[in-house]
Point group: C2
Chain length 710, copies 2
């Protein structure tokens, strides 16, 4: 799945990259909505439906779809949400706390990339449902900051209580605050929704302005949000043994060993990211769309384990599994989710303790109680995240298996498109629906891993496009089509992008596609020492494009794993990602986007594997585990080096040997034939070195023969 766009040629430091513009949509509408209780989210559904239908299905077909606050009276489209009441009520709360402004971020207390409906405070306050943004409310003004992907959506959804601000840097928010908040006044924020870095950035920007931040642990939006969705009542689940190699007890011991080995001698480790606790206990939940997580924190000490969660969701069986009735080193003491702050304070007050946190995923509320400084140990990522990044043998095998089944679904889907698009009845939306359906038939399917990006022609040039009724395009043989989709399976998470053309592509489209493919291949086939960083290799994904002056404005890949979020950090090609080791899985996804014309992306997931070299040890390369052929029509083999051609043919052979039997098993004969047709080997000449010698032989032969004739 595509990462958030970055300015061309820069390498983003943003950790919580996301590109999903409507995180609630597929979650609510999907066939695989995992027993969501609809009524409690009805307000969100209404909001969503309003946004989805816009004015195209509305009563006044000709009215503008965007607000106009400078006309008299102000014009509001039917999609705009009246936010006067919630603003009024929030300001009452603000006055009571003696603050002149209140900052509302878009994340949750775990700094999650995707959030649950009950954390959609920004949407509740502003009406705007996009996934990225920051709102600030003062006693007489309100403003939303969001990036260019969402400007139109914001103008459709917000009423005239709200200004829209377009520079999303924290310094821009701070500048606005300095201009709106009187000197000496305080600006409130919920420290549970701020990372350390966010807090620091605001602090630096407000420094010496004589306005200060005030940390308020009780969220003021929640106080006025009467119909705030409750935590899903679903019971939590443990993973079945067949997908597990290391028990939670083994994982706990392994992490404790790392704590003991640290020269800084931490006594406790605080886990805040939702996938950290899910990984440690081999458990999953259902709280966040596309992400099988549950609200939780863990405080792991050398001789105790405290798991903070909504206890009513823990079954008796699970209590036995967690050994929850004792207090020993391998007993999990269950504590209420909301008691984390008190327990942490209490633990920190003990003499001689030192708490280890990963700064990238710990919120400021928890951080600020770990004082004095010598009770704190920080690293960017907790040892759980760095350990989790390297998959064990079972995890590697089942994730490969999931990709074989996923390939069957995608092959089925691509074949179906090839057949039905020329008939003229398919659209971006029907295609997106069909790919979900194909995946849902595969064993252990648990729904999509993100909202499918299904984009035809110019829509695909918007790298972060997601189809809606308003933008939906019919698929035709005259346009390129890009589909970026993935599945959750009990054994693994998948993520793949293919770009196809059902008619006659232009020369430029072929060249761009081939160069994107060359980028994908150059990364995939490169050999590098263990410990090399992705950011130091990712230019290989761009180099063939750069050669002719083309490029793309997003990242080149992200970690992915076993039934977790589709962006499984900190693995990947970004500058804040950790060095590659054998057993890590990452997407590789170069692209090219021609504005108002077409978009290309070729994304595969690959696993880092050891490789034998002539002289050295400890070298690695990638092994591609996504197993779907590329559109042959779009490949100009004359641009490929012999090494690239050879790599491609070897990959196609692997697809045949791994996906072929699975297609047979599933009795998909037509799909098998389609796969075989699309993995025919390309003509290879051999490596450039052998070419030159064979050419010389041929020349000699030709010359000899000519002499004989003459």
């Amino acid at each position: 799945m595509l990462l958030r766009a970055t300015p061309p040629h820069t390498f983003t430091h943003t950790l919580h990259a996301t590109s999903d513009p409507q995180p609630l949509r597929v979650w609510i509408c999907s066939q695989r909505a995992r027993s969501v209780k609809m009524p409690s989210y009805s307000w969100l559904l209404a909001l969503y439906l309003a946004a989805l239908t816009g004015n195209t299905d509305g009563a006044v077909a000709r009215e503008s779809t965007e607000r106009n606050c400078s006309s008299t009276p102000p014009y509001l489209p039917s999609t705009a949400v009246n936010t006067s009441l919630q603003l009024e009520e929030l300001r009452v709360q603000m006055r009571a706390m003696n603050i002149s402004a209140y900052i509302i971020p878009a994340t949750d207390a775990h700094l999650s990339e995707y959030i649950a409906p009950r954390d959609a405070r920004l949407a509740f306050m502003t009406g705007f449902t996009g996934s990225a943004g920051t709102a600030v409310v003062t006693l007489n003004k309100a403003a939303l900051w969001t990036d260019s992907r969402y400007w139109v959506q914001a103008e459709r959804q917000m009423d005239c209580n709200w200004e829209l601000e377009k520079d999303v840097s924290i310094s821009s928010v701070a500048q606005w605050l300095i201009s709106e908040v009187p000197k000496g006044d305080e600006i409130g924020f919920d420290p549970f929704l701020f990372s350390l870095k966010t807090q620091e950035d605001y602090n630096i920007n407000l420094e010496s302005s004589d306005r200060s931040l005030k940390s308020i642990t009780e969220n003021l939006v929640d106080k006025v949000w009467k119909e705030r969705p409750s935590v899903p009542p679903d019971s939590l689940t443990r993973l079945p043994d067949r997908v597990i190699q290391r028990t939670w007890q083994e994982k706990v011991e392994h992490i404790r060993t790392q704590m003991g080995d640290s020269p800084y001698k931490p006594t406790g480790l605080l886990l805040s990211a939702l996938d950290e606790t899910a990984w440690l206990f081999n458990m999953r939940g259902n709280d966040i769309p596309y992400n099988p997580f549950f609200y939780s924190y863990t405080l792991l000490t050398m001789d105790e384990i405290w798991l903070f969660l909504h206890m009513e969701r823990v079954t008796e069986e699970l209590k036995v599994y967690l050994n929850a009735s004792c207090e020993g080193a391998l007993c999990v003491q269950l504590k209420g989710y909301d008691t984390i702050l008190d327990h942490l304070k209490n633990y920190v007050s003990r003499p001689g303790v030192k708490v280890w946190i990963g700064t990238e995923y710990t919120n400021y509320a928890l951080y600020e109680v770990i004082t004095p400084q010598d009770k704190l140990l920080t690293s960017s990522y907790s040892p759980v995240l760095t350990t989790k990044a390297v998959k064990d043998e079972t995890e590697q095998q089942i994730l490969r298996d999931a990709h074989v089944r996923d390939a069957v679904a995608v092959i089925q889907f691509l074949m179906w498109l090839e057949k039905t698009v020329p008939e003229g009845n398919q659209t971006e939306l029907t295609a997106a629906e069909y790919v979900d359906k194909c995946r849902s038939k595969q064993k252990d399917s648990r729904g999509p891993s993100f909202g499918t990006i299904s984009a035809s022609g110019p829509n695909a040039a918007l790298a972060h496009y997601s189809p809606s009724k308003e933008t939906n395009r019919r698929l035709t043989v005259d346009e390129m089509y890009l589909v970026d989709s993935g599945g959750q399976y009990l054994d693994g998470t998948t993520d793949i992008t293919r770009t196809v053309h059902w008619g006659k592509p232009t020369e430029m489209q072929k060249e761009a596609f081939t160069r994107v493919l060359m980028g994908n291949i150059e990364i995939s086939r490169t050999i590098f020492p263990s410990g090399t960083r992705g950011v130091n290799m990712e230019m290989l994904g761009r180099r063939a494009l750069w050669e002719v002056g083309l490029n793309y404005g997003h990242g080149t890949g992200h970690g992915v794993g076993n039934y977790f979020g589709v962006h499984e950090w900190p693995v990947g090609f970004q500058s804040n990602n950790i060095p590659f080791r054998a057993g890590m899985f990452t997407s590789i996804e170069p692209g090219y986007y021609k504005e108002n014309d077409f978009g290309i992306r070729i994304e595969d997931v690959a696993v880092v594997v050891p490789v034998q070299t002539k002289y050295g040890n400890n070298y690695l390369t990638f092994d591609t585990v996504s197993l779907v052929p590329y559109d042959r029509k779009l490949i100009d083999t004359s641009l490929l080096s012999s090494e690239q051609l050879h790599f491609l043919n070897k990959y196609y052979k692997t697809i045949r040997s791994l996906v072929g039997p699975e297609l047979d098993n599933q009795g998909l004969r037509e799909e098998k034939d389609w796969m075989l047709r699309n993995t025919e080997p390309f003509a290879e000449i051999g490596s450039s070195a052998s070419v030159s010698s064979s050419s010389l032989t041929l020349i000699a032969l030709a010359v000899a023969l000519l002499h004989n004739i003459v």
Copy 2:
């Protein structure tokens, strides 16, 4: 010139990388010692000579060359320096300041990579003359930290007053301090010799240990160093107009424009690095070996210019040049070098001022007086360093010209070696001497730009080797030879490495050499968008090596420019270097080192130039300006891609067209023939794409002919 070694596969953050193990040697002994007054440095010379001769020329020929402090009585070689007196005197000073430890770094107040003899406080205190290290003296102990390059040298030069510590991290020094300094006591340091980062690192490491740092602006070593060399009395010089495009007034206006454009509205800019002031005023000095700098600071405000230097060295002519008799916006007010701190304090006390500093080169003494915080504006590098990084048209042209003359010198040298080495009389030292001599004959020569690395066989495997009498090897046709050298010219600084073999190289040597060359070529020929960082491309220099499990443990290149230090930061391939723009010059220097066997490095300087691409604008590539052919014997052309071969032949054509006429001008006929022989084009087959089609034609032809015959 080689950068400091980094752990394999990591990318160093160290800015002041250096590899020169004996910075004083060539400076003192060189023929081009720039009118150094020898007597005032006599103590250093004695020290150096002792180190140089060691026991090989000493009275007791069989004695051990290293100290043994655990024998009774302790054994000291004749090279060891008795430091009891200076330690005793330093401790008197320490007691007077009420400190229990004193830290002595190896740098100067400008955080220079090379230092002048008067700043060699570490050598004076310890006896150890290596370029890198930190000494700490407590009331009853003394310890030196230095890296593995210098351990043997330290054991030879230090007496038993000193412990040698081998983990050079600040945390290791801090650990030692915590174990040696009583709780509650203070540790003194000279803030002029600490960078912000060094101070912060010590602070973090001592935090919560109940030992604190005490900043003492008067250096305690200087107080006991009676024969401390004085500042060289030489007059400073201005650069002649023929090497200048922008007058200092234009540069000042340009920098002021950048200050005015900053949203943070700085009122003043403090320049601390010696090349900043030298660049701004188009002036040079003679204070530091190999570096044409003079002790100075500049405080540039929007309407004043204060230049801090040793005023007695400013001639009347220079005063006129600097417009030093007035106080307007384009008048340079000359102030005493030692008054910087008072003037800065005074300026900071003015209301409404804000001082911009580059944190990488500003010492802690100056930083700490810029308070409160809102009077400070920081960036890693000052706008002078980032502006200076892009050379103007004149600078580019004269730096290219300097490389043509430098190539003549190096070609002369390589030809001479080829002739004389088989006769058996050349050594690493005679070779190093000869290359200096060759350069000295070229127009505008100003001596070597660093101590030549002249290394044969296993010596070259020590990437940072520099020959001495003790280690000197005879050059033979049986060993590879590596020479890394450079010259200072009035118009430019050069830096080039060639590796040669005068006999029959092994297959492995050929393969390694060819793969190093492939790395050099792959970086040089790559096309990239303006603004790409070197660190994101430098793996191209390693990739051909990685493919067979080889690698190198140092950086891949550094900026270089017009008569400045040979490492001209912040341009280069390190992670703290700035993005590439057209007009920047950098070295490109991959290598390979086989322990106890041989070493290979191929280093060229290249300029970043715009390139026309098929679809895009604003793309760049490198144009190599070092113009000396590689050893043909070591190139296995079968490993090269057709693109690499083509690049190589084009480069050789450029050497012929640029160096040929200069060799003619200088009447060097034999050298011209040697150059022509060594730049013969290699057989090219054409690009892989055209190969395949031509091969197919040949196959068709052969088949047709066979048919005719049968």
